[in-house]
């Protein structure tokens, strides 16, 4: 009788310790999950900021200014031909 009791006690202690370890590991994993989710949120925010930055660089007035002044592009007429020969001209605007 005593022996069985002692054995059961041992089993109980081992189970209890396993239970504690499992809980601990669950919490560790949960923390990892949590930090990954936080990272995902951070990346999302960063994505939004980059998108914003991109659209700020790509505003139409800026694109037009660069096309005209830096690349010296000119507008084609309705039939797809440049209206005048693209003579290099400095800082010329239409």
């Amino acid at each position: 009788m005593l022996r069985i009791n002692l054995f059961l006690l041992l089993v109980l202690v081992v189970c209890a310790l396993l239970g504690v370890t499992a809980q601990h590991r669950a919490r560790k994993l949960f923390q990892d999950l949590e930090s990954e989710q936080e990272r995902a949120r951070q990346l999302d925010v960063e994505f939004g900021q980059l998108q914003l930055e991109m659209s700020t660089w790509a505003t139409h007035p800026r694109v037009e200014q660069i096309a005209r002044e830096k690349l010296r592009m000119r507008q084609p007429d309705a039939y797809g031909k440049a209206a005048e020969p693209a003579a290099p001209s400095r800082g010329r605007r239409g």
Binding site: F30, E34, V45, G48, L52, H60, P61, A78, R93
Partner: protein, 584 residues
């Protein structure tokens, strides 16, 4: 322990007769009872704590490690039809302080904080001076700055997450998109009109935190946050830009007070561009004036003037009262009705109905209008949407003024036929012109991108009438018409000019509203472009000279942006049209 005497086989020292005490029996019983009672008391107490008072204690305990956290949700984006950003929220920090705690900061710390927050240290001191329990030091601080403030580890200085709205396209789309307040709620424009779907709903979760403040477990119910839905506008930001820059140029060139322009897709009723000038930068709303904030194209009505003439002509054609080439005598350019006289800007002789529209004769239009009873005209104006709100769901929409037909006097019917005595907004007039661009039916307008164009609207005129009116509108942009400057190289376009006197305190002043509404390309109309310039005070004030060129440039750009093939014969485009020197 109490030792009792007992008969026992073994002889122990405790039972030594010398040590034996002769105690009375009640004493040991008393001690025993007292102990029992104390034990009972403990049992009772634990029963009370464990069973009766358990909820309270459980709650107290949980409050030590369990936390309810709010999970923030972001406001939806506003994007144009091609997905270009028009408005987006990004997280910022607000820095706040508990003044009592924050006053413990040293001088050096204060200076550092003031430097980071870009405010004079005197202002910082005054914010911390009061005996309030809470004060905002600065709101909407960029996250990088907030991190550096955090690194200073200042006493009593805290941070909170909040969102800030950015408008990358700035003043170009300001009236259309609107803006939000500091609490991220829409105050104007689409931000207000679509507040419900844009708004995010924050969620909440309760968690267990450990000693170091890390979340270790989710407990209880989880309410996931709901981010606001994105709004896809019908707007094409490139056309919007073209419309904005050409309108701005036209307003400045003509030294005008203000202006508005609208581009509609006639097939679907989508609003491709809607601009007003003057405008404002929604990212920096300091020093805003009412004039800048006004969304004239939607909230302001004006007497449209001659741009209403095609409707009178269309009604006459529709009812078979006149034909395209019926001759109307407009000489001598004046006409007296009752005790009032109406006149033409330039006197004409006999004109056909088409020429009345081409040359914009008031007398001719009034004569056409007298074919109808007031009620017939009222019904037609009502059918094309005048006097009713356009139903875009936009804040501050107006319906204009269309008086009931019963009170019309003959002179009023005459002036109304050419657009005086009636008031409309620019969006109403643009929408009404879709009737001519389509086969005579009126479709609802849409601010948001549509997946499918509405098949058919309410029929106002027959397709035949719409086709004839289109021919008249094309005549108006020919050299003999009122708006040769509205032509677009390579495309067949048509439209109607308007030059209306402005009413000031019930009297017509020598101030004008110059306007032009046109269709392009005429072989298969796709766009309706309406331009309105308020009080041009340069050398020109006629609609054809002021609003016509702006129409031409906006339409040319929009047609190219949409990739619509030129439909004009080649020689005409290369001939007498002046070389286009316009912006992108």
């Amino acid at each position: 322990m109490v030792v009792r005497r007992r008969g026992h086989a073994a002889h122990r020292y405790a039972e030594s007769p010398v040590l034996q005490l002769a105690l009375q029996g009640w004493r040991s019983r008393l001690v025993g009872l007292t102990l029992m009672a104390a034990f009972g008391l403990l049992a009772g107490r634990s029963f009370y704590l464990q069973i009766l008072d358990t909820d309270f204690l459980q709650g107290k305990g949980e409050s030590r490690y369990r936390r309810d956290i709010e999970v923030s949700a972001s406001r939806g984006k506003i994007v144009d039809r091609n997905g270009d950003l028009l408005a987006v929220s990004t997280p910022m920090k607000s820095i706040w302080a508990i003044p009592v705690d924050a006053r413990q900061m040293g001088l050096e710390q204060r200076q550092k904080l003031a430097g980071l927050l870009e405010m004079p240290s005197r202002e910082l001191d005054s914010r911390l001076a009061g005996d309030k329990g809470f004060t905002f030091l600065k709101r909407q601080v960029p996250p990088e700055v907030a991190e550096r403030v955090d690194a200073l580890k200042l006493p009593g200085v805290h941070q909170e997450k909040e969102y800030r709205r950015f408008y990358p396209s700035g003043d170009m789309t300001a009236h259309m998109v609107g803006f939000t307040g500091v609490d991220d709620k829409g105050l104007e424009g689409v931000e207000l009109a679509f507040q419900r779907s844009l708004e995010g709903r924050p969620g909440s979760r309760s968690v267990i935190k450990d000693r170091r403040g890390r979340i270790v477990e989710d407990v209880g119910a989880l309410k996931p946050p709901q981010d606001g839905r994105d709004v896809h506008l019908a707007l094409d930001s490139k056309i919007q830009y073209l419309a904005y820059s050409h309108l701005k140029a036209a307003v400045i060139e003509n030294n005008a007070r203000a202006g508005g322009a609208i581009v509609l897709d006639a097939r679907s009723g989508e609003v491709l561009a809607l601009v007003n000038f003057p405008t404002y930068n929604p990212n920096n709303r300091e020093r805003l004036s009412g004039a800048q904030l006004r969304n004239r194209a939607i909230t302001d009505t004006f007497e449209p003037g001659s741009i209403l003439k095609p409707f009178t002509a269309a009604l006459a054609l529709e009812r078979g009262k006149v034909r395209f080439d019926t001759v109307i005598d407009c000489a001598p350019g004046r006409m007296t009705i009752g005790n009032a006289t109406i006149s033409d800007a330039h006197p004409h002789g006999a004109l056909t109905v088409a020429q009345v529209i081409q040359k914009s004769s008031n007398v001719g239009t009034a004569k056409i209008a007298f074919h109808f009873a007031p009620r017939e005209m009222w019904e037609m104006y009502d059918a094309v949407g005048f006097g009713q709100q356009p139903g875009l769901g936009f804040p501050g929409e107006v319906g204009g003024r269309l008086r009931p037909w019963k009170s019309w006097r003959p002179i009023e019917q005459a002036t109304m036929s050419y657009g005086h005595g009636i008031s409309v907004s620019l969006i109403q007039i643009a929408r009404a012109y879709t009737v001519f661009a389509r086969d005579g039916d009126l479709i609802p307008l849409s601010l948001v991108r549509l997946d499918e164009a509405p098949v058919k609207g309410a029929q106002v005129f027959s397709p035949e009438t719409a086709r004839e009116i289109r021919a008249m509108l094309e005549m108006a942009v020919q050299p003999e018409g009122t708006a040769p400057k509205a032509r677009v190289a390579g495309y067949r376009v048509g439209g109607k000019t308007g030059t209306a006197y402005k009413l000031e305190n019930g009297v017509y002043a020598r101030k004008y509203v110059a306007s032009f509404v046109g269709l392009a390309p005429l072989s298969d109309p796709r766009l309706v472009v309406a331009v309105m310039i308020d009080e041009p005070s340069g050398t020109a004030h006629y609609g054809g000279d002021v609003a016509g060129p702006a129409f031409s440039r906006i339409a040319a750009g929009a047609l190219r942006t949409l990739g619509i093939k030129p439909d004009a014969p080649v020689q005409m485009a290369q001939g007498n049209v002046p070389a286009e020197k316009e912006r992108l």
